[in-house]
Every structure is written in structure tokens, then in C-alpha cells.
């Protein structure tokens, strides 16, 4: 069954409004995009929606109480809260360097969680 949905592309700040004709998870046609990232976003959004996740973890012995962290790649949207629960119980030791791995292979996705900044 062919159907049309409207998606807003989040790849860049422009936020193109995409009209996506699809059959289940198969994209047939995308219009409204202003670059070729639009159709790619639409396909990913239908079959395996992912988001960058940024949060904080506790840090021991640092100049701050919290260390900001982020996923090295977009993370499966349906498992974000599962990931947050793991990170809530994580504590890292200062000093930390930016882009240092804080949690490797998070939830077996192959995606690392990295430190956003140096923290002494």
C-alpha cells in the first residue's frame, strides 16, 4: 500500500519539509528536499530512525560535578531511554580528554559514547 507522509529533515538547520511517498519502509519518492541528504534522511527515518544523544555523566575528582558526553554516531531512537539509564549509573574519573571513550559499544550497538570536553 503506497502512502505519503510529511517529514521534516533534521540533517541541517534548514529543516526541509519532505513529502515522502513510501510503501512500508521502502521509499518510492521524496520531494521538497533541497539537497541529497533529504532522501537519505527519509529512508533512515522510515527503516531505522536514529538520533544523536547528548547527556551528562557523573565525574569523580574533577573541577565539575558533571561531564557532558555524546554518542559518536546517531543512536537508535527506540533505545535512547535505555542508553540514558546506563549513563545515569556511570561514573568516570577525572582527568578526562575530549573525545575520550566513556562507554564503549553502548548497548551492543557498536556506537561509543564520548566525552564532549576536557575536564581536569
Amino acid at each position: 500500500m503506497e502512502q505519503t507522509d510529511t517529514l521534516i529533515c533534521i540533517t541541517c538547520p534548514m529543516g526541509c519539509s519532505l513529502a515522502v511517498v513510501h510503501e512500508g519502509q521502502t521509499v518510492i519518492q521524496v520531494t521538497g528536499n533541497h539537497c541529497n541528504r533529504g532522501p537519505r534522511y527519509a529512508q533512515a527515518e522510515l527503516s531505522d530512525p536514529r538520533r544523536m544523544v547528548a547527556t551528562t555523566v557523573k565525574v569523580r575528582g574533577g573541577s565539575k560535578r558533571l561531564l557532558p558526553v555524546y554518542t559518536a554516531a546517531p543512536f537508535p531512537k527506540s533505545r535512547i531511554f535505555e542508553l540514558l539509564a546506563v549513563l545515569r549509573n556511570l561514573e568516570v574519573e577525572a582527568p578526562v580528554r575530549a573525545d575520550q571513550v566513556v562507554l564503549a559499544n553502548a548497548l551492543g550497538t557498536g556506537i561509543d559514547v564520548l566525552a564532549s570536553r576536557d575536564l581536569s
Binding site: 521534516i8 529533515c9 533534521i10 540533517t11 541541517c12 538547520p13 534548514m14 529543516g15 519539509s17 533541497h34 538520533r51 544523536m52 547528548a54 547527556t55 551528562t56 557523573k58 573541577s63 565539575k64 560535578r65 558533571l66 557532558p68 555524546y70 531512537k77 535512547i80 540514558l84 575530549a98 573525545d99 564532549s116 570536553r117 576536557d118
Partner: protein
């Protein structure tokens, strides 16, 4: 610490860091950043979400990650830093008085100053929300600092007034930390932040948004207990009968940002009432010789990438001034004014020196008054003569537009007293 610097930058957010880096690159020897916080980076340190640098660096970085790159570069260039110190006064002769717990009272002189104090959030008092005055009404940025840096949750059930980017990003952040965001209310008939944030911060987590709605009053004695929401008409007047009580313990305000210019005003820098920031020229020099301004202190940007870009220009210009290579525009008769005209709220810079075009193009930055969801021209004219124009697919008040004056416009700009800037439908 030295007694005299070529360039002193006030503030170490993205605008200040970029200015300090550019000043060094342009040949300034002694460059100092004065920062009131205990570390560099400004507001970026609390903006832990991603989305920074997509335009200019072609990388999707977090706020702290974006700051880190510029902090590293400033350090590599031996930019000096005075942390935990507040600038109290700058004189028109660029004598600076600062004060800090560790540093004590500091006095020094600058050949050029870059103002990079950023902006402040509008508060409850500035939008005059009626009702009681309980605890639990905060600006979104204040809550962001508590949650992301200090590790403190300001409430459990939130209503957020205003659909600016900080508000939407906080809606997601609070949801991540286990709170409930009951509602986002926006007085305008459109969201004021970016579409992408609407998707990934509100839609993703089913946070209800009501456009053309505002808070009629706050309820609660010691702590917020509820807010009364109401629909408004096109003149923002409440529509009787549409009131709704929304129980909550916290109201966050994301209702606009204002350039922070207390220092600038005190030293006598002239402020443009349209932007809330100093009048500047193409090199971001203010009306006061040797005083430059970078980033949100000039006008509020929606992307950090453009703050960095503006900071780089301001820093380079400040170094040129300090090294005696740049005159003050008031000494130059060939300065031309820019004027916000059809569907344009404001234009920065407010003055363009045609001579700048002998070096490089000059970028005008502007915001529209009303959204146009169809192709537009952004154009600059001298009377009826078209000097430059650029096609855009749409124009929205929430998204800054820019227009490059090309180098070949030199003669036209030199002849012009005023450049009027318009944003018009392409079809018309």
C-alpha cells in the same frame, strides 16, 4: 599580566574566542581575554547538545566540543586569559578596570577592545506575566545551567513558554532526566526556533505544542502549582473562554534574548534600538574608535557558526586598528549607511565603508519581519539601483539572512549614501 595589550577581548564565548584567535592571526602581539566564569567557552559549556559547527566546520559537534576546538587554538596561539574576573568599566580611552577573587583589582590598557559579552535572556518581569510570584519560574538558560553543569533539577512537571531553540532543547533535556514537560506554549502562530529542533526535541517525545497561546497567569503561593494558559488573537490579545489551567511545578521562559551591553552603554557606545547592540561598521567597529563588538553582543544570532564568523572579522579588524592599519570610519567620508526597508527588521552592519570592498566582499546580516514561505530576493539598493541581490528559498524571522556585497560593487557603494535592504517575493 601586562600593563598594555594590543587587543583585549571581553568574554570568552564563541565570539570572544574567535576574535582573540583572529587578532593573533592578524599580527597582534599581546592579546588578552577577560572572562567572568572560571573557564573559557561561555554559554557553549552548558549547551551540551549537538548541532554546532554543521555549517562552518561541516562537523556536528556538541557545544562543549565546539568550544574545545577554539579554546585549544587560542591556547596554541598564546592568547592570554584572565578568568573569574568581571570587567567593571572601560573608558573611551580603552582603560579597563576588572576585578576578581583571585586577581584582585586589575587595571590595564588596550590599543583595541573587542566587546563579546553575548546576550541575556528575557525574564518574567520583561514580559509581564500576571499572577503570584512563587518559586519555580526560571529562564530556560538558567535551568540549562543547573541541569547540565551543576547537576540540579529545578522541577518535575514543566510548562515552557516560548518555542525558541533553548526552550525546545530544554524540553528534550528535561525529558531525558525524567521530568514531564506538560506543554510548550508559543504566542506567535509559528515556532520561533529551528524546525529540526521541533522534530527532535518535541515531536520525538510527544511534547504538546500550542501556537498562538500564552500564559495568562501563574498560580501558587510558595511554589508554582499551575499556570493558566490562554489562546491569543493576531494582536496577542487573550481570547475569553479559551483559558485552561495546566498543573505544573515549574514554568520555564524561552522568550527571547537581548544583547548584553551594560558595559558598552556605560562607556558611551551608541546602541541601535532595532538590534539592541552597538552600531557597527563592516569590520564590527562600534561608533567609538578602537572599540569593536563580536557575536551576540551585536545582534542575536541563531547559529554559533555565524557568531564565530563575526568574531573572526571583529578580531582581525581590532588587530588592524591596534597595529595602526585601520582608520575609524568617522574619519572617512565614504561610509555608507544600511537601512532596513521592505520586510526587514534590521541590518548589520549599519555602516559600510566602500574601501573594505577593495579587500574582500562585505556580508550584510538581516532578519525579516514576517515569514515568506516562497522564493525571495534579498536585495540591496541605492534608490532604485540594484547593487546586490541573492535568491533564498524562503525567509523566516527565526532564521538570519545574509547578503554579500561583492567586490565589484565598490563603485556603487562608494556613490551611495544609503543602501536600502529589502526581502521581496521573487515572483512579484
Amino acid at each position: 599580566m601586562k600593563q598594555k595589550y594590543d587587543v583585549v577581548v571581553i568574554g570568552s564565548g564563541p565570539g570572544g574566542l574567535a576574535a582573540a584567535i583572529a587578532a593573533k592571526r592578524a599580527g597582534a602581539h599581546d592579546v588578552l581575554i577577560i572572562e567572568r566564569d572560571v573557564e573559557l567557552g561561555g554559554i557553549l559549556q552548558q549547551c551540551i547538545h549537538n548541532g554546532f559547527g554543521v555549517e562552518s566546520l561541516k562537523r556536528d559537534l556538541t557545544g562543549p566540543g565546539y568550544a574545545q576546538r577554539f579554546i585549544n587554538e587560542a591556547q596554541a596561539l598564546n592568547v592570554e586569559v584572565l578568568l573569574d574576573s568581571m570587567v567593571l568599566e572601560i573608558t573611551p580611552e580603552r582603560h579597563i578596570i576588572a576585578c576578581g577573587k583571585e586577581a584582585g583589582l586589575v587595571e590595564l590598557d588596550a590599543r583595541a577592545v573587542v566587546l563579546a559579552m553575548g546576550c541575556r535572556e528575557r525574564t518574567r518581569a520583561q514580559i509581564r506575566i500576571p499572577g503570584t510570584r512563587p518559586a519555580g519560574v526560571y529562564t530556560a538558560g538558567t535551568a540549562q545551567r543547573w541541569v547540565n553543569i551543576e547537576g540540579y533539577m529545578p522541577g518535575k512537571r514543566f510548562v515552557i513558554l516560548g518555542s525558541g531553540d533553548i526552550g525546545m532543547i530544554m524540553a528534550r533535556r528535561l525529558t531525558f532526566e525524567g521530568a514531564t514537560v506538560e506543554r510548550m506554549l508559543e504566542i506567535m502562530p509559528f515556532i520561533t526556533g529551528l524546525n529540526r529542533n521541533y522534530v527532535q526535541c518535541l515531536l520525538d517525545f510527544n511534547i504538546p505544542l500550542q501556537l498562538s497561546h500564552t500564559v495568562k497567569r501563574v498560580l501558587g503561593s510558595k511554589r508554582v502549582e499551575a499556570v493558566e494558559a490562554v489562546q491569543v488573537d493576531e494582536r496577542w490579545q487573550p481570547i475569553a473562554g479559551t483559558e485552561e489551567i495546566i498543573p505544573c511545578d515549574t514554568l520555564l521562559l524561552s522568550v527571547g534574548l537581548i544583547p548584553e551591553n551594560e558595559l558598552s552603554r556605560q562607556m558611551g557606545v551608541k546602541i541601535d534600538p532595532l538590534t539592541g547592540g552597538p552600531y557597527v561598521d563592516d569590520g564590527f567597529q562600534t561608533g567609538m574608535p578602537g572599540v569593536f563588538a563580536a557575536g551576540n553582543v551585536v545582534h542575536v544570532y541563531d547559529l554559533v557558526d555565524w557568531v564565530t564568523e563575526a568574531g573572526l572579522i571583529a578580531g582581525r579588524s581590532a588587530a588592524e586598528f591596534a597595529l595602526g592599519k585601520r582608520p575609524h570610519p568617522s574619519a572617512d567620508e565614504k561610509t555608507c549607511r544600511t537601512k532596513a526597508s521592505e520586510n526587514v527588521r534590521y541590518v548589520v552592519p549599519q555602516r559600510v565603508n566602500a574601501e573594505a570592498l577593495t579587500q574582500r566582499p562585505v556580508k550584510l546580516q538581516l532578519r525579516v519581519l514576517h515569514p515568506i514561505e516562497e522564493p525571495v530576493w534579498v536585495e540591496a539598493r541605492n534608490g532604485d539601483d540594484l547593487i546586490a541581490r541573492q535568491a533564498e528559498r524562503y525567509a523566516r524571522p527565526g532564521e538570519m539572512l545574509s547578503l554579500d556585497l561583492p567586490q565589484k560593487a565598490y563603485d556603487a557603494v562608494r556613490r551611495a549614501e544609503t543602501l536600502t535592504v529589502n526581502v521581496v517575493r521573487r515572483r512579484a
